[in-house]
Amino acid sequence: MSSVLYDAPGPRAKRRNVLFSVIFFLLLALLVWWAWKTLDDKGQLEWALWKPFTQSEAWTTYLLPGLADTLKAAALAMVIALPLGALFGIARLSDHRWVRVSAGAVVEFFRAIPVLLLMLFANEFYARSTDVSTADRPLYAVVTGLVLYNASVLAEVVRAGILALPKGQTEAAYAIGLRKGQTMSSILLPQAVTAMLPAIVSQLVVIVKDTALGGVMIGFTELLNTRSTLAAFYANVIPSFIVVAVIYIILNFILTSFAGWLEKRLRRSKRSTGAVLGKEKVDDINAAEVGGTFGTGAGGSI
């Protein structure tokens, strides 16, 4: 095989690669051995600390309700942010300058602010100015923070999705006498939404990860937060941490794989116009050159 970086290896390169493999393997093995030994020395590998996770109670009492809250916040945030994002995305493509500019300002503003700040603010705002109950408030605050931030990221996704469609689509629509609004609603948006699906699923990963912030900083009872209740009962701080990390990895891996599958599927599909926004494209959306009115790429997908 050959890549931009190297040719198909000859006998010497092959020998060298084997050597590198061996050295690298030894280093990795050393690292793993050290980690394992340290955990063992500190008594973290005792079966008593891990056993709870093989029993249903640890899951039904602590972890699954936490996971449900994580998914609930993520789903709510996505469902609310999507139409809001679409609205702002379309507004940024408006022919009227003041609509374009003001929508752009809002989008750029919320993309520039850490989602944690939005959550902290929303939490305090709800506590003082509304009658949301103390039990529900963290959820409201987390969802509000996530919606404000992700709507502005999705606005960019929608905008890029529409811009990625071939110009001929708009021209053809105008040629058959459709108005601007009709072109948008019946020609551009339906195609753009399909093209955006993988990007939207990828964004869901970002949202799921950000819910953890709410658990630690404003007491939202999501997975990371119920972990600490679990650890108070079973006295297994480190093992519970590792288990929760694995849950996040699996959950997000499923979402990422699904996004990848969607993207492949859509690219092969002959019915679409071939414009697909994948994960990579989402990263590009945030890149400075397409950053819009203010020219910033206030990094979205991390």
Partner: protein, 224 residues
């Protein structure tokens, strides 16, 4: 109206934002280095290294940063004894937060660089090899300079995201902007004003970076 700000001296408002800047700066350098190494692994001819790079990126990208940062404190420091050369918890937590941010951000830097490498046409490397350049020479003189230029945009993006992500360090008590905002907003009546001050701070931090690096990436873009 702004009187309450002077009541906070640990950290002060400026001190908190300065901490954000320091976190961003050191994590930025660290993740650039580690991310480049990871990218080199992911495109190397050694299958084991490729496998490690891929596994690292896919695992780290899917863990919440919050989990990583807290783990540096509870796991790395408390259990594994990685105390980052400091016995004082404030310094240690600051350095651990940087370590966590580097571990996380490097995965994204790696992906940005790898996609940058993929934009370099195969012919460039073939020409280099035809001239007799070795793997590392090809990488250093031909591929990476071109790749780096085309990744400035995406990297700028990662940097801005990193600036915002430093707020997660508040989860292990690093006295940066979000930490102070939490303290202020819980104790003072001017919720809106406090929100506005901190939002403004981050706009000031991210906007010029975005503008400058956007300009730079356009200027340095490889014309093809």
């Amino acid at each position: 109206m702004f009187d309450f700000i002077s009541d906070y001296d640990n950290p002060t408002l400026l001190g908190a934002f300065w901490m954000t800047v320091k976190l961003t700066f050191f994590s930025g350098i660290g993740s650039l280095v580690w991310g480049t190494l990871l990218a080199a692994m992911r495109v190397s001819p050694v299958p084991l290294m490729r496998g490690f790079g891929t596994a690292y990126v896919n695992i780290v990208r899917n863990i919440p940063l919050t989990v990583i940062i807290i783990f540096t404190s509870l796991g790395l420091a408390d259990i594994f004894g990685v105390t980052m050369g400091s016995k004082v918890f404030e310094t240690r937590d600051f350095r651990l937060a940087i370590l966590g941010l580097v571990a996380y951000t490097a995965a994204f830097v790696c992906e940005a660089i790898r996609s940058g490498i993929n934009t370099v046409p195969l012919g460039q490397a073939e020409a280099a090899r035809a001239m007799g350049l070795s793997f590392s020479q090809t990488l250093r003189h031909i591929v990476l300079p071109q790749a780096f230029r085309s990744v400035i945009g995406p990297l700028a993006n990662v940097l801005i995201a990193l600036t915002k992500n430093t707020t997660v360090a508040a989860a292990i008590g690093v006295a940066e902007a979000a930490y102070l905002m939490k303290e202020m907003i819980e104790n003072e009546a001017q919720t809106l004003l406090i929100g506005a001050i901190f939002a403004f701070g981050f706009v000031v931090l991210t906007l010029p970076t975005g503008l400058f690096l956007g300009w730079l990436s356009k200027r340095l873009a490889v014309k093809r």
